[in-house]
Every structure is written in structure tokens, then in C-alpha cells.
């Protein structure tokens, strides 16, 4: 394997790592990303995979795991800015960003050792498939999400207590504002012409191909722009637009087919119902949906 030999040579030259240190990581990476999903993968696929590994980053991480001070310095100097930037992006405020950035190094090193004596830090999970910088951003993001969840749980517990209290007041005959004030979702539900359309739409989305469903969710559920959704999937905006247009047609056909087959509607009735539901949504709810999706995007970032 040329890729493996090249990685071993770099490890020996730059970090003075023996082949025994690197080989298990290479094997683990191949198992995780190649053989796990394609047990019958041939040598060419494995070689291609090893050739694409970020060997330098992997050697740096292994050296850090082995307690190489030079390697830690290189890691800190080389990726300190990346970590801080990722922490600021993933955190809602500067204090939280500093907290995340400080704690990430401890997470990477690991305060506890594993059973085999190796450090229990997150560096052991780096496979070299992606870049070290990207991996660090992902780790920082997960850390930020965990911290956000911990804080949100505390807040939600207070909110739940308030809601329970309000509901109790309602049952006691108080004129609480909980039921009188309709949420946008309630308005949307009441304005929906038919629940059958909603069910058919849900089924149509479920039966879509994974790639198409991911694009739909990135665009409609997560509120990403088409350019961004295409970038997540690794395709250009124009390609994503073409796909979306095709998906629209397929979903419409599927919904109409479900309505006709399972509910006995005619094609004209199905088309008319779709048009009416969409018209109601457009006139009544669309502005609300836009703001809701924006807030949803913000919450996802936080």
C-alpha cells in the first residue's frame, strides 16, 4: 500500500514514530470508513482511502497522544486560532466561547487514562480522514452544544414549572392566556385544508432518496440557502437547484398518487386541494414561517 508506506515514512521522519504506533490507527480508520460500510471493498478502494488520509495531521495527533511536547506545541500554535474561532461561532456569547476554548484542550488531552494506560482524550478518535482543523471545529461544536444543552435544561426546567403553574391556574378557572393565545402552529393547523394532504406529504418525503431528503431538510427544515445546502452536499448551487426542482415534481406526483390511491380522490381534486392548502399557507402563514425558520437557524447555531 503506497499510501500506508508514505504515511509511515512521514511519521518516522517528522515525529520519530514507529510503524507500530501508526499501523493500528490506519487499520482502525480503514475498518471504520471502508470495511464497515463495504465489507467486500477491494485493495484499490483501501489504497485510495489511505492515499486520501491526512497523514501529517494523523502523525501529529499520534505524537501528541504519546506525550510529545513538540507535537503539543505544534498543535497548540497551529490550531489555537481555529479552536478559538470555532468556539466563538458555536457559542452565543464571548464568555461561553472562552469557556469552550479553554476546556477543549483538556478534552483533547484527557484527564483520565483508559484501561490500557493510554490517555483518554478525544485525540484518540481522530482518524485522519478529515483535516485536523475540521475535526477540531467539530469537537468544539459538539462541546458547545453539550454546554448549551446543559444550560438549556436548567432554563427549561424553570419554564416547565411556570407552564405547569399556569395550567393549574387554568384548571382552577382562571382566565389564563395560554389557551386564548394561539400559537402560529395552531393557526397553521386550523388553516390546513386537509389532514390527508399533510399525511401524504409526510409519506412522500419519507419515501424519497436519502440524498434528496437531506437536501430538502437542509433547505426547508434547517432554513439554509440553496447555495449552503448544496455546499453541505458537496454540489454547486445550480446542481442543487436542479435537484430541488426535480424533487418538487416528484413530491407533488407522489402526494397526488397517495391521495388518489388511498383516499379515492381524482387528480383534479388532489391538485385543487394542494393549491388551496398552499394558497392558505401563502396568505396566512408564510411570513410567520420565514421568521420561524430564521429563529430555528439561529437556535441550531447556538
Amino acid at each position: 500500500m503506497a499510501g500506508a508506506r508514505r504515511a509511515l515514512a512521514r511519521a518516522a521522519n517528522q515525529r520519530s514514530l514507529a510503524a507500530e504506533c501508526l499501523t493500528p490507527r490506519l487499520r482502525a480508520s480503514a475498518d471504520k470508513y471502508v470495511f464497515k460500510h463495504d465489507p467486500a471493498a477491494d485493495a484499490a478502494a483501501v489504497e485510495s482511502f489511505l492515499d486520501g488520509l491526512h497523514a501529517d495531521d494523523l502523525c501529529l495527533v499520534i505524537a501528541c497522544e504519546r506525550g510529545d511536547e513538540h507535537a503539543w506545541n505544534d498543535l497548540f500554535q497551529g490550531y489555537g486560532a481555529t479552536v478559538r474561532s470555532a468556539a466563538r461561532s458555536a457559542s452565543s456569547n464571548e464568555a461561553m466561547a472562552d469557556d469552550v476554548a479553554q476546556s477543549i484542550w483538556a478534552e483533547l488531552h484527557g484527564l483520565k487514562s483508559r484501561a490500557d494506560g493510554s490517555p483518554g482524550g478525544k485525540l484518540a478518535y481522530y482518524s485522519g480522514v478529515g483535516s485536523l482543523g475540521g475535526w477540531l471545529r467539530a469537537v468544539v461544536g459538539q462541546l458547545a452544544v453539550d454546554q448549551h444543552r446543559r444550560q438549556t435544561k436548567l432554563v427549561q426546567a424553570d419554564e416547565d414549572a411556570d407552564l405547569d403553574r399556569m395550567a393549574l391556574d387554568e384548571t382552577d378557572g382562571g382566565d389564563g392566556a395560554f389557551h386564548s393565545a394561539s400559537t402560529p402552529e395552531d393557526l397553521l393547523t386550523t388553516n390546513l385544508a386537509s389532514a390527508d394532504v399533510e399525511k401524504a406529504l409526510g409519506r412522500a418525503l419519507e419515501e424519497m432518496a436519502d440524498e434528496d431528503r437531506l437536501l430538502m431538510k437542509l433547505y426547508y427544515f434547517d432554513g439554509l440557502r440553496l447555495r449552503e445546502a448544496g455546499a453541505v452536499l458537496g454540489v454547486h448551487e445550480a446542481t442543487a437547484s436542479r435537484r430541488l426542482t426535480r424533487i418538487h415534481g416528484e413530491v407533488r406526483e407522489k402526494v397526488e398518487s397517495i391521495l388518489m390511491k388511498e383516499h379515492g380522490w381524482t387528480k383534479a381534486e388532489a391538485a385543487r386541494s394542494l393549491a388551496e392548502v398552499a394558497a392558505n399557507l401563502q396568505t396566512d402563514v408564510e411570513p410567520m414561517l420565514v421568521t420561524s425558520s430564521d429563529s430555528g437557524l439561529q437556535s441550531s447555531v447556538t
Binding site: 458555536a90 480522514v129 478529515g130 448544496g230
Partner: protein, 414 residues
């Protein structure tokens, strides 16, 4: 975006807003997320993660954030810019018709069209010339043959009316011979273009007799017209042409040129005999008038007698029976004239559609002008034989020296 797409988009957006967040049991770890965000995964692993991301909102949001932070947008745009655009055959063909190419192609097409139209126009114009050039040796013969037929048709018309043989002379044998001659002449003439009257000889003698009667009726009608006080009777040629015009210009041609020639010879002899008899009668009548009656009464009596007895005498005369009814029409109004007029009647005659007047011992075509150059040809010579059949036919009808204007040229036939 079409209205249908907008409708579906709105419905999906609404569904997405209502749908509860999907929380799957296992999430992608940081390494998998970063690998997916950087597009570094093998295809099989990527497909598995796409399936997970389509269901797991948490992982999907993190992956999308990572992707955007890792510069996925710039990466995809660079990849698109760097990737060679696959050019299909249809694209190649459509490029040929792109505006930059079309500006030259349109000019070239215009030049080609103009050249093509010019070529076709010139070719169409030159085609008749070529046809004439190739048929130069044959065309005059065909034309002469047709011309002779058409002109001899006139002669035959004249024969049938003016020098018409008695009905008894039209025997089945003669008719058969005429049919044969017609067939021979038909070889040089297309069947379709052959005049309808050309088949006349093939008809039985009874039909021929009926035709003769019809011709006599026509001549009688013409006679009534001519009996109007017209002191300048129309020349016989015009009447003949009128008759030809009535038959569509292609009067009956009982046979080919050869037969026409024979008949023309016969009719010429008959005409000469008839004219000789008429001249004798006129001289005798003049002598009688001078001796018995005053001039005016004598003239009237002669005219009456002519009106009564003339035709009967002519009927007795075989040669007179051959006279053209036109000739009769022409000569009848002249009978009341004086003896000089009677002389004058013999001074003109017609043959083959040409009018002739006597000048001394020769007959001169009335179309003849002194400015014309005259070509002298002896009868029986090779030169005479090489003449157009129509011209020869006229020459044979008119005995003696005759000047015939034929196709704008004057021929002196001796």
C-alpha cells in the same frame, strides 16, 4: 419557480415546521462529521451518513455548520470551475448555431441561396436554347411536316369544298387508301396532336357524304352573308382562313402530304378546266347579251340566268363540281358585273390559303411586294423537291408561273 413548485415548497416548509425533531439513537462523532463536511468520505460511508443526516436534525445541523465553516461553498465552486464541463453532442451541435457562428453562417447561406437561385434561373432560361440546339436538325422537318399538314388541311378543305370530287368518287377503296396515307403521315405526327379531322378519311363514305352536305350548308350560309350588298367581296383566302379558323386552324387532312399533293394535282387540273369552261361561258354569254338584249337588261338576264342555270350547268360539269364553295361565293356576286368583271373573276384565284392574281401569264401572290427578293425555282428540279411541302402543294395547284410568298420569302415557280 412554477406555481406547482411554490405550492409544494410551501407545504414542505409547513410540514418541516410542524415535524418534531428527530432524535436518533446514535449520532455521528466529530471525526465522521468533519470527514463528511470536508467531503473526504468513501462513497459507501458517505451514503450511510447521508441517510443518517436526513433523519437526525442534530447531526445535520452540526454537519451543515461544519461544512459552511470549512469553506464548502468555496470548495464546491472551485470544483465546478476546475472540472471540465462534459460537452455532449447536442451541445456541440447547438454551439454550431450559436450567434457568433451564425453571423458567418447566415452570410454564407445567403450567398448560397442567391447563387442557387441564379443558377436555376439561368438554367431554365438556357434550357429551351439547348433544346433548340439539339433538335436543330430535326425541328425544321417536324415543323415543316406539321406546317404542311396544317396548310394542306386548308388545301383539303378547299378540295372538299372547292374541288370536291363527286360523292360517287369517294369509294371505300379510296377511303382505305386515304387511311393508309393518313397512317403514314401520322408517323411524323403524334397521335394526340393529330387534328380530329385527320381521321375523317377513315370514316365510312356515308359519313363523308354527310360531311359534304354539311359543308354545302355552311357554304350556303356564307352565301347568304355574301349576298348582302357588298361590292367589295372578301377575298377567297380570307373565307378560307375563316373556314380554317372554324376548324381550329387544323382543318381536315385526309392524308399525308403525298396524298395531298395528288389531290392538289387533281384539283388544280379541275380548277383549270373549270375556269376554262367558265371563260367560255362568259364569252358566249357576252356575245349573246350584245346581240340580243340591252346591256342593263342583258346583264340582269345574264345574272338571272346565271342564278338559275349557272349552277345547274356547273353541276353537269365534273370540273365545276370540284369548285370550292368559297369560290362560288366569291364569284356569284360578281356575276351581275359587266364582262370586264367576269374577266376579273378569272384574274384571281386562291390556293393553299394564298390569294393570287393574274399578271400576264403568271399568278402572283397578293402578299407579294416588289421589294421582296424573288427566288426562281423550276418545277421538277431538285430544288423544287426540297421546298416545303406546303409551298410545293400550292405550286402544284397553280399551274404555270406563279409567285408564292412563303414564310416571308417570295418564290417564282416556273
Amino acid at each position: 419557480m412554477t406555481p406547482n413548485e411554490e405550492q409544494i415548497g410551501l407545504l414542505i416548509r409547513r410540514f418541516a415546521h410542524k415535524a418534531s425533531a428527530n432524535e436518533t439513537a446514535g449520532h455521528l462523532d466529530a471525526d465522521e462529521m468533519s470527514a463528511f463536511a470536508e467531503g473526504a468520505l468513501p462513497p459507501a460511508a458517505r451514503a450511510r451518513y447521508v441517510s443518517h443526516l436526513a433523519e437526525c436534525d442534530q447531526c445535520r445541523r452540526q454537519v451543515s455548520d461544519l461544512s459552511l465553516a470549512a469553506g464548502a461553498i468555496a470548495r464546491t465552486e472551485q470544483a465546478v470551475a476546475a472540472a471540465p464541463v462534459p460537452v455532449g453532442w447536442w451541445t456541440k451541435v447547438s454551439r454550431l448555431f450559436a450567434a457568433p457562428q451564425l453571423r458567418y453562417a447566415a452570410f454564407a447561406a445567403m450567398v448560397l441561396v442567391v447563387a442557387g437561385v441564379t443558377f436555376i434561373a439561368l438554367r431554365q432560361r438556357s434550357a429551351p436554347r439547348d433544346l433548340v440546339a439539339t433538335n436543330k436538325g430535326e425541328q425544321p422537318q417536324i415543323y415543316d411536316a406539321q406546317k404542311s399538314v396544317s396548310e394542306s388541311n386548308g388545301d383539303l378543305k378547299l378540295d372538299s369544298s372547292e374541288a370536291r370530287p363527286p360523292a360517287s368518287t369517294v369509294s371505300p377503296a379510296n377511303a382505305a387508301g386515304l387511311v393508309e396515307q393518313t397512317k403514314k403521315s401520322g408517323e411524323t405526327q403524334p397521335e394526340a396532336s393529330r387534328p380530329a379531322d385527320a381521321i375523317t378519311p377513315a370514316t365510312p363514305p356515308m359519313k363523308e357524304a354527310a360531311k359534304v352536305e354539311e359543308a354545302e350548308k355552311k357554304s350556303a350560309e356564307t352565301l347568304t352573308v355574301q349576298n348582302k350588298p357588298d361590292y367589295a367581296p372578301a377575298p377567297p383566302g380570307e373565307k378560307q382562313s375563316v373556314m380554317q379558323g372554324q376548324t381550329g386552324g387544323y382543318a381536315a387532312a385526309p392524308g399525308g402530304p403525298r396524298q395531298q399533293t395528288q389531290q392538289a394535282d387533281k384539283s388544280a387540273v379541275a380548277v383549270v378546266d373549270r375556269e376554262r369552261d367558265l371563260a367560255k361561258d362568259a364569252r358566249l354569254d357576252n356575245a349573246k347579251r350584245k346581240s340580243e338584249q340591252p346591256p342593263v337588261l342583258a346583264t340582269r338576264g345574264v345574272s338571272d340566268e346565271k342564278m338559275k342555270g349557272g349552277p345547274s350547268r356547273n353541276m353537269d360539269n365534273v370540273a365545276a363540281n370540284n369548285r370550292n364553295s368559297n369560290e362560288v361565293l366569291r364569284t356569284e356576286p360578281e356575276k351581275p358585273a359587266t364582262g370586264a368583271a367576269t374577266e376579273d373573276r378569272a384574274e384571281t384565284r386562291s390556293a393553299g390559303g394564298h390569294k393570287f392574281r393574274r399578271q400576264g401569264n403568271s399568278w402572283v401572290d397578293q402578299k407579294f411586294k416588289s421589294s421582296m427578293s424573288v427566288r426562281t425555282i423550276s418545277r421538277g428540279s431538285d430544288e423544287f423537291a426540297s421546298l416545303d411541302s406546303g409551298l410545293r402543294s400550292i405550286a402544284q395547284q397553280v399551274s404555270g408561273e406563279v409567285i408564292i410568298v412563303w414564310k416571308g420569302k417570295a418564290y417564282l415557280i416556273k
